[in-house]
Amino acid sequence: MKKVLAAAVASLAATGALAQTEINGTVDSKCIVMTDTAGVFGNPSPNMLTTDPQNGGVQPVIRYDVIAADFYKAVISYPVEFTSSPALSDVVNWTGDVNVSEVSDTLMSDYDANKITYNNTHEYNMSVAGSTWFKISSEADYGFAKSLPAGNYTAVVMAECIPL
């Protein structure tokens, strides 16, 4: 009987010890930039590379998680040059756009209307806490309907998160 009691007490003690194991964490104001979808250029015609899904491309999607409202601005720039490509002898004409594609809070629905745009850069004030998905489109047209040389082409979308 004593042995059973001792075992029960030991078991309780062990349970108590487990119950006191803590997991600590803090929630700071912070911004996390995530590449949700890596973009891919489609090559629908010899002189064009585009992320347009109807032309075989994939639009990159970037997600911003903001823990606190009005602490950050998101600055997203679509590419205006190749970071790697074969030697190009003619000019490349770049176009692109940045748009909000999904939001975790309906209050973010005016982000596109309130954004500041200059050159190839789009600036969003992250005035609501939560997640926002941005979709970027990019198109590169080579010369005057000139064929792009065969090879690998890489262009970079810059996604910045800057505290206010």
Partner: protein, 127 residues
């Protein structure tokens, strides 16, 4: 129904690949370091981008002009996937009012074929 939507959204996020870049704290403070005339602060970079192994650290003024600084171990950091880098930044006392942003920019490697890649740049603001 609303809860179910939230659950499904969370499940989708949880099952997706981790591809994040984070810098904390948001508002670090410069404090006197062990070197006279030099201030320091500490930031933590978290790399959950599997495609990125290196990050460049920079210090800028309010207009994003570079400010002189030294980071422990150099300004190019190798950070493993799901790893954290604790970065000590040293700034001259005379640059205290100029130094405004500490930024970490992902460095992409060449070689990915016909892809539009994403470079992330996350900053903290010195207060």
């Amino acid at each position: 129904m609303r809860n179910l939507k939230h659950y499904l959204a969370m499940a989708a996020l949880a099952s997706g690949p981790a591809v994040a870049h984070e810098l904390t704290p948001t508002y670090p403070k410069l404090t006197p370091s062990y070197i006279p005339g030099v201030l320091s602060t500490h930031v933590v970079l978290w790399n959950a981008r599997q495609d990125i192994g290196y990050y460049k650290v920079d210090v800028f003024d309010a207009d994003m002009n570079p400010v002189s600084f030294i980071a422990t171990g150099g300004d190019l950091k190798k950070v493993d996937y799901l790893g954290r880098a604790h970065i000590e930044i040293f700034v001259r006392e005379e640059d205290q009012d100029k130094a405004t942003y500490i930024c970490t920019q992902s460095k992409l490697s060449r070689g990915a074929a016909q892809r539009s890649l994403v470079a992330s740049n996350v900053c903290s603001k010195i207060r």
